[in-house]
């Protein structure tokens, strides 16, 4: 082996570099094989039940709200920032929209309520973005304070769940449409898929999206290259706020009303799903489509545990262990990646 012919040497290098590329591609998209393994694991424990179409559909349906909130977290992480407020923004804007329709302007069409909800989410995002980008507030502390303010704000608005909402306000999260072949299927699944594909498109195909990655990768370099980094960061937080509010809307429809706790409980799962979907905490790296894999993995595990009649209070602990395993895995992958790159 040591005596390579001069003709074969470059071929070998070529093959090695292709193999390296393949390995890197696999490492970048590791969530899908993991999801498959988890799914097969529960399918083996729950033969026939777990693989039923009804179960898979329900799994997707329960993931919709969390999916939108995970996207809200992911875009902030990709830009090299942080958003702890996604859960409370989801809950607060959903509650504001619900109260607008039932108390502040009863009789208004549900669509106006949805607009109010999106504007509230966007406005909180704008507040986060402006203070972080223009005032230089640490993103962690900034969004920690908005987390606390608006989690409390939900209770200021209403300490009780709000029901009796117009059908059109609940429609995105509740409605079921009938489509041949895939039977009746919740609209929320399509909305979720649309959001994932839409955000992926924006982040990978537009100037703004690539600027988000550039700012996340190296903010100083992006600024030196002429990117208005402040504007990018503010836009990222506004989009994050709107996505979180959309998650709140989907959860409201799923629950049939706005409850004070639905949104706030979503922060940790959203964060976990983003990280196990391969979004780098250091910014500039990660594909939002893969965070859908993260969302579905959490959904698969919790559905599996519920079906196995395991105490639901265990779920958070399990999610935490999954997060820890993911962080360990990505740390190892990161080191392996560095080694691969240094060989090139």
């Amino acid at each position: 082996m040591t005596n390579q012919s001069p003709i074969l040497a470059p071929l070998r290098t070529l093959r090695d570099s292709n193999r390296t590329k393949l390995v890197l591609f696999t490492l970048d998209n590791l969530i899908w094989p993991i999801l498959l393994v988890a799914f097969l694991f529960f399918s083996a424990l729950l033969p026939e039940i777990f693989t039923q179409y009804r179960n898979i559909r329900f799994l997707l349906y329960t993931s919709a709200g969390l999916g939108a909130i995970t996207l809200a977290e992911s875009i902030c992480l990709i830009s090299g920032n942080f958003d702890l407020s996604v859960g409370s923004v989801a809950g607060f804007s959903a509650m504001a929209g619900a109260l607008f329709l039932t108390e502040w302007a009863p009789g208004a069409p549900g669509v106006i309520g949805i607009l109010v909800l999106l504007c509230v989410g966007g406005a909180i995002g704008l507040l986060n973005g402006v203070l972080i980008a223009k005032m230089g507030v640490n993103p962690f502390l900034q969004t920690l304070s908005t987390l606390i303010i608006f989690e409390g704000g939900i209770l200021v608005l209403s300490s009780q769940s709000v029901y009796g909402l117009p059908v059109s306000y609940l429609w995105p999260g509740e409605a079921v449409i009938s489509i041949p072949v895939i039977n009746p299927i919740p609209v929320a699944i399509f909305i979720m898929c649309g959001l994932f594909v839409g955000l992926w498109f924006v982040l990978s195909r537009t100037r703004f999206g690539r600027a988000v990655y550039a700012v996340g990768g190296n903010e100083a370099s992006a600024a030196e290259a002429g990117i208005d980094t402040d504007r990018v960061i503010i836009a990222v937080y506004v989009i994050s706020g709107v996505l979180a509010a959309t998650g709140g809307l989907l959860l409201t429809g799923f629950n049939g009303g706005a409850t004070p706790t639905t949104g706030t409980s979503q922060l940790f799962p959203a964060f976990t799903a983003a990280v196990i979907g391969g979004i780098s905490l250091f910014g500039g790296r990660g594909n939002v489509i893969n965070t859908l894999g993260g969302v579905l993995l959490l959904g698969t595990i919790s559905a599996g545990l519920v079906m196995l009649n395991i105490d639901p209070t265990v779920i958070q602990t399990v999610n935490g262990i999954v997060l820890l395993a993911a962080i360990l895995l990505y740390t190892v992958v990161h080191q392996y990646r560095e080694r691969l790159l240094s060989d090139l």
């Binding site: 990655y213 550039a214 990768g217 002429g226």
Partner: protein
Amino acid sequence: MTVTETKPRIEVAGVQKRFGTVEALSDVSLTLNEGEVLGLVGDNGAGKSTLIKTLVGIHQPDAGEIRFDGEAVTIDGPKHARTLGVGTVYQDLALVDELSVAENLFLGRKPVRKLGGVLPVIDERTMAERAERILRERLDIELDPDTPVEYLSGGERQAIAIGRALVTDPDIVLLDEPTSALSKAAVERVEQLVQQLKASGHSVIIIDHNLEEVRSMTDRITVLFQGRTVDTLETAAVSRDDIVSMMVSGKPLGGPANNGADGQSSATQHSTSD
């Protein structure tokens, strides 16, 4: 190597820049004439990189004036500097490791096309084609434009940073230590590139720690010392030792301090001593 053109493209007059209590630039004046290569030398902390960043609007001067083609301007930022025809290679290269070669070459100015006539999306094909042309024609290196920059060697990274400065076809090029990470052969390519730029009428400011390189590439040399201009001299009329002595002492050769923007007048008074 006599300077025949005297039309000033950039004039820096008495520029000051303070960061808190640190005075990075206390009194810098220099002139970049059309079609010349101006070397900027000085010890670490003399203010060379700060001056470059002030020229592209990353820093705003606290006092003094920057004139482009005789007109005083306030430069908002790198984008504005680009519209004034300035291309810059930063000392830290300003690359984003996670992004591809093509994306780094077009960072902040990717070509777009309208998808379905309305939706502006990045024109990947145009970007790849133009990137390939720049790599081949301007930089003479073979690289796949899709390769992430983190895969590249130090020299290749430097080449990408230089390539990016040339993407907009600037007529003024600022090079902050473009050869610091390069092998000898690659340094020669940069020297050739600078000569090509000069031959095609570009004006160039180059910062370089290697005085031999500075002497072989430039028409005139401005020496900075602790944030102020010591002197500007014609390269042909100054020895390496003269430059070193000005860099270390902060005093111009012979006569009293000359901090004026029009430093080249004193150049002819000094003859080479080696």
